[in-house]
Structure formats: structure tokens, C-alpha cells
């Protein structure tokens, strides 16, 4: 691990970023807790535990920042899986957005198809067949076998 002596530029490390993010989140929590009374020790209020927890979180985050020199440089984090992660999140986001409108069968088969076709670049016909079969299986399992009410949406079944 290279040492950062006097005069050398400080390397941004993973723990600097993580600790900073948690401190910022803690500050946000305090900003949002204005109307929550902390109360007194004999009569604790609704804001006591949230503020204690946020305070502790910020304290530990500061300790992490102080000891950040032992962590890896931020630039070394491997984001190679970032594209895959972003695509999965976006496709799932769209599916969840339309779920109650399109209903279970349409949304879920489109979700599985999109993941297979857009991310995995699988044969479109095979991806379509697979997504329909697994969605029908899940529909039977949840909707019929377990009698769990599924979203009907456009199709009404």
C-alpha cells in the first residue's frame, strides 16, 4: 500500500467515499427529523431512537473515514458488472412501473423476455418461448395452486 506522506496528493479511497455517503445520509436524516421530538430521558419521544441511530451511524462513518488509508483506492473498484446491473435495474423498474396496469401475465413474461433478449442476447424465439412457459408456471403456482390473488391488469385473467 503506497504511503501518503507530506506534500503528496491524498488518494481518494473507497472508505472515504463510503464514509462520506453515510455522513451525508445521517445529516439528511437529521434534517428530516425536525418535527420529531427527542423527549427527555424519563419520557423518551418518537425522535429518540432515530436520532440516536443516525448519530451512531455518522460516528461510525467518521471512524471509517479516519481509517480509510487502509482501504483500496476508489479508482480500483471493478465496475465491470455495472452495465449488467444497470440494465437489470432499468428493466425491472419498467416492469414494476407497469405491473398493476398490464397485470401479471403480460408484465412478467415481458420482464423475463427483456432480460433474456436485451441483456443476454439470446435467440428471440427461444427467449419468448421460455418467458411464456415460466410465467404460465408461476401463474399456475401462485394464482391457481396457492390461490394468491395476482394482478389482472389489461387481460382480466
Amino acid at each position: 500500500m503506497p504511503r501518503e506522506g507530506k506534500g503528496e496528493a491524498v488518494t481518494l479511497r473507497t472508505d472515504h467515499v463510503a464514509g462520506g455517503a453515510f455522513v451525508a445520509f445521517g445529516l439528511l436524516v437529521f434534517a428530516l427529523s425536525g418535527d420529531l421530538p427527542f423527549g427527555t430521558v424519563s419520557e423518551p419521544g418518537a425522535g429518540m431512537l432515530p436520532k440516536l441511530a443516525a448519530g451512531l451511524m455518522m460516528l461510525f462513518a467518521v471512524l471509517i473515514i479516519i481509517g480509510a488509508r487502509a482501504s483500496e483506492p476508489f479508482a480500483t473498484i471493478n465496475w465491470g458488472d455495472g452495465g449488467h446491473a444497470a440494465l437489470v435495474v432499468v428493466i425491472t423498474f419498467v416492469a414494476v412501473w407497469f405491473y398493476q396496469w398490464l397485470g401479471f401475465l403480460l408484465t412478467m413474461s415481458l420482464l423475463v423476455f427483456a432480460l433474456l433478449a436485451l441483456i443476454e442476447r439470446r435467440n428471440l424465439l427461444r427467449a419468448a418461448a421460455y418467458s411464456i412457459v415460466v410465467t404460465l408456471f408461476a401463474y399456475w403456482l401462485f394464482g391457481k395452486a396457492l390461490k394468491s390473488p395476482l394482478e389482472h391488469g389489461l387481460l382480466w385473467f
Binding site: 420529531l36 471509517i64 458488472d81 425491472t92 433474456l116 421460455y130 415460466v134
Partner: protein
């Protein structure tokens, strides 16, 4: 003793009912599959399948969900031995010598030793649980709010101490979990906290969306399909039986792993993971041939596999007797019991004897089922491993969405799951373990209630925690653990936790 046997008979009369047997079998089967498939651990499996139990009574629900938990411990060994990929985290240690045995042509023997060791350890764990949980529950009836507060503090400190990441990181995650657990209406004053006018947040954030997001979706986000590869050849049935020497070499490691695993299982933390590492380290240390470890030592399979099964049973002791989760899996199981109107804790044995003893008895039966499932059907399970991950994970994403939505029929829960998936991905990148977050989230309501009740009882003095003997002892134990951690940090000692972190990262300790 006589009462225990009578109660156990009552339990068997419940557990041997055909309908309960069926759900125990289903749980064991699904658990084995969950254990076998990389990328989906017992926590995500149980969380996703929780809604399937809503139509069942409490006994069948808990029998099935617990079957998934201990079934996954059995199943994890198959992937570890045949592919050198841990099907779930507790099987990390089995990868080393199990796969080395497979490369020597002894895959069948390794699978058999893992299954038999798991069965012996699981059954041993249930026997001890049978006799330990009821008296512990009776003792816990003496607990008031200060004792519960101190016990929960000890639980969090223990979790942080046992964690492979640093104490500070673990406590930070637990604090974040506690913070998230305060979202919703404050039951003592009626204040809305951080609900942003979203009615669904009035009831707080559920454990299922958080657990599925962090452990299910988060894992998928971090695992592109091109990273999951592996050719696998199933062993033939006649190759499954170990030879006499292999049996001899596995006997004592199984016995030691069972005892060690159960003891570690009772302690908060990811006990089943830690226990397998501790068992591996113990076997290597006392072996006359430590140089064989890493090259296919039988004890390197028998010990850790027994230990992780005993630990998963041991974790049920505080859950059933005290109503306190020792890890995220038991936290979800507690949530499942609460959904069915059965609060776990000291009163469970007396108020719901059918559930308690039926559950205990079903574990005896479940362990036998798993032995019968895992050996003859290993070829079938291996076939499942051949399904390309590219086809598997879209299915898991779909089950994550349905599983979370079906709990409350709330789209807000699904949004929370999606956000938690991204958070889980981020935490992984920055080296944070999300398990303490889930534990903090689960204990937050109980912790807040008992802390505030204690302070009101004492008329505003924190000394109440030191004036009552049980809470004093529990807090002294917490302080002791913090001091031990501080000493380790100051001396920069490379202890077993550092070695476990190294093993989890895929390097041999």
C-alpha cells in the same frame, strides 16, 4: 424430563400428520435446490417463498420454511464439491477439500460424507434443542424491558464481534438497520416518522422487501452471467459409498463439528458460515497430517459440513426460547411466525405447544428426509446445475418481484426491494456486509419499545440497566467483547475472522 418426552410425543403426533409431512418434504426439497443453486441463498429463498405459506397454518408454514433453511445447508455441499462454487456461503470451506476429493475421483464419497455428517449433526442439534429451549424459555420469563434491551445490545455487539468485516463497519450497518426500523408510526406516541405521506410506509419497512432486495436482487446485479461457468459430471450411485478408511477419518470430525457448530449456532452472527470455518481450522490444527488439507482431506469435508448443519439448528434456540433472531434467516422466520399470529419467545412453548413441539419433531423427520433426498437424487440435482445461469436469473428476478408483492399486495414494497437491490450492490462494492442491517431492522421495534419502557420505569435514569443483575451481566459481556475487539485492533492481530474473510474471498486460509 418426562414432560419433555410427553411434549415430544405431542410434537410427533403433529409432525407425522401426512399434510405436515408433505410441507416438511417440500421445504427440504426447495431448500436443497436453494442450496445447490449459486446466487440464491437461504435468506433470499425463504423471503421469496414466504408468501407461499400465507394460506397455511402456523405449524405447516414454519415447518416448511425451516426445512428450506436446513435443507439449503445440505444442498450447498453438492455445488461446492462438484463445481468448487459454494451454493451458499456456509459451504465455502467444503469447496477446498470436497472439490479436491472430486478431482481425485472420490466425488461420490465426499457427497456421502457431507450428507451423513449433515444428518448426524442436524439430528444432534435437534436433540439438544429439545432439551435446552424449554428451560431457557422458562428462564426468559424473568426478563423485563431492561433485560431485553441489554440482551439486544449484546446480540448486536456479538454480531459485530463475530463478523468477518470490521467491528465499526458491522455496527454502522446495524445502526442503519435500526434507523430504517424506525420508519412508520411510533406506537407509543402516534407520530409518523419518515413516511413522506406514503400510507404504506405508516406500517414501516417490511423485512421481506429489504432481505430480498439486499440478498436476492443485489446478488443478481453483481453477478453477470458470463462470470458463472462450470462443467459438472454427476457421480454414479455405486461410487457414493465411502471406503472403510474414509468412514474412519470422518467419524471424529463429524462429532466435533456437531458440538462446535451447535454452540456457535446459539451465538448471534452468521453462525453457519463461521462454524464451518472454525471446524475446518480446528480439524487442520489437530490433524496428524495437516499437509493433506487443501488436497482432499476427508476431515476437511466432514467437519465443516457437520458444523454448518448443527449451527443452523442451534440458531433456533434463541429464536424459539427468547424470540430474538441471531441472524437474518431467523429474523425472517420470526416474521413468518408473526404473520401467522404466533409470537415466538418465552410464551411460545406454553401458548402454542403444537407449533413448538410440532416444529421440533418435524426437524427430526426433516433431517431423515434430507438424507434420503440428497444421496439417491444427487444426479437429478446436478442436472439442475446444468441450467445456464443466463436463463436462471430472470426467473429469480421474477420470483423476487412476485414474492415481495404478494406479501402485502403493495407496489411500494416492490419499489423498496428494487432500491435495496441497488443498495446491496453498492454495499458489496464497498465491502459492507448487509446482514447486520437486516438484523437491526428486525430488532428495531423491540429494542425501541424495551429501551423507552426501561427509561420510563426508571424515571429517567440509565442506571436501571446496571441495577438489575441479568441486564448487568449481559452488558458486562457486551463490554468484554468490545474490549476484546479493541485489543485485537490495537495489536493488529490476524485472528480467525481475518482468515475467514480470506476464505470467503476464495483464498485458502
Amino acid at each position: 424430563m418426562e414432560t419433555t418426552f410427553d411434549s415430544l410425543l405431542l410434537g410427533f403426533s403433529v409432525a407425522l400428520r401426512p399434510d405436515v409431512l408433505w410441507y416438511a418434504f417440500l421445504g427440504c426439497l426447495v431448500g436443497t435446490l436453494v442450496g445447490i443453486l449459486p446466487g440464491i441463498g437461504p435468506l433470499a429463498g425463504i423471503s421469496i417463498l414466504l408468501p407461499l405459506t400465507f394460506g397455511l397454518d402456523a405449524t405447516k408454514a414454519i415447518v416448511m420454511l425451516a426445512g428450506i433453511y436446513y435443507g439449503s445447508q445440505y444442498g450447498g455441499s453438492t455445488t461446492s464439491i462438484l463445481l468448487r462454487i459454494p451454493g451458499e456461503a456456509a459451504s465455502v470451506m467444503t469447496c477446498i477439500d470436497g472439490n479436491a476429493m472430486a478431482r481425485k475421483g472420490r466425488a461420490g464419497a465426499a457427497l456421502c460424507i457431507a450428507a451423513v455428517g449433515s444428518w448426524i449433526a442436524g439430528t444432534f442439534g435437534v436433540v439438544v434443542l429439545t432439551f435446552v429451549a424449554p428451560p431457557l424459555a422458562t428462564f426468559a420469563l424473568r426478563f423485563g424491558p431492561p433485560e431485553y434491551t441489554a440482551l439486544l445490545v449484546l446480540g448486536l455487539i456479538f454480531l459485530a464481534y463475530m463478523s468477518t468485516s470490521s467491528l465499526v463497519r458491522t455496527l454502522l450497518m446495524a445502526a442503519l438497520g435500526l434507523l430504517l426500523g424506525t420508519i412508520g408510526i411510533d406506537v407509543m406516541t402516534g407520530h409518523f416518522r419518515y413516511s413522506f405521506n406514503i400510507p404504506e410506509l405508516g406500517d414501516g419497512i417490511g423485512i421481506v422487501p429489504v432481505a430480498v432486495g439486499l440478498f436476492g436482487l443485489g446478488e443478481i446485479l453483481a453477478t453477470p452471467s458470463h462470470q458463472v461457468t462450470g462443467e459438472v459430471a454427476p457421480p454414479r450411485l455405486r461410487e457414493l459409498w465411502p471406503n472403510r478408511e474414509e468412514w474412519r477419518q470422518s467419524a471424529m470430525p463429524i462429532a466435533r463439528g456437531s458440538v462446535l457448530g451447535f454452540l456457535i449456532g446459539i451465538i448471534p452472527g452468521s453462525a453457519h458460515i463461521i462454524s464451518s470455518f472454525m471446524s475446518y481450522a480446528l480439524e487442520k490444527r489437530i490433524s496428524k497430517h495437516p499437509e493433506e488439507f487443501g488436497k482432499g482431506a476427508v476431515a476437511g469435508v466432514a467437519g465443516p459440513e457437520s458444523a454448518n448443519n448443527a449451527a443452523s439448528t442451534g440458531a433456533f434456540v434463541p429464536m424459539l426460547a427468547l424470540g430474538i433472531p441471531t441472524g437474518p434467516v431467523t429474523a425472517v422466520l420470526i416474521a413468518a411466525l408473526l404473520v401467522h399470529g404466533v409470537p415466538p419467545g418465552p410464551t411460545l412453548v406454553n401458548d402454542h405447544p403444537n407449533v413448538f413441539w410440532g416444529f421440533v419433531a418435524s426437524m427430526y423427520v426433516g433431517n431423515l428426509m434430507l438424507l434420503a433426498l440428497n444421496l439417491p437424487l444427487v444426479g437429478v440435482f446436478v442436472t439442475i446445475l446444468r441450467i445456464p445461469y443466463a436463463y436462471l436469473y430472470p426467473l429469480i428476478v421474477m420470483f423476487c418481484v412476485i414474492g415481495v408483492y404478494e406479501v402485502n399486495h403493495s407496489i411500494v414494497d416492490v419499489w423498496i426491494m428494487l432500491i435495496m437491490g441497488v443498495v446491496g450492490y453498492g454495499l458489496k462494492k464497498f465491502g459492507f456486509d448487509p446482514a447486520p442491517l437486516v438484523l437491526g431492522l428486525v430488532i428495531a421495534p423491540l429494542f425501541e419499545m424495551s429501551l423507552r419502557q426501561s427509561l420510563i420505569m426508571s424515571d429517567g435514569t440509565w442506571m436501571i440497566f446496571l441495577q438489575r443483575p441479568i441486564s448487568l451481566v449481559l452488558l458486562a459481556a457486551s463490554a468484554g467483547l468490545l474490549m476484546l475487539s479493541a485489543v485485537s485492533a490495537v495489536l493488529r492481530r490476524r485472528d480467525w475472522r481475518a482468515k475467514l474473510a480470506q476464505a470467503e474471498a476464495g483464498e485458502q486460509p
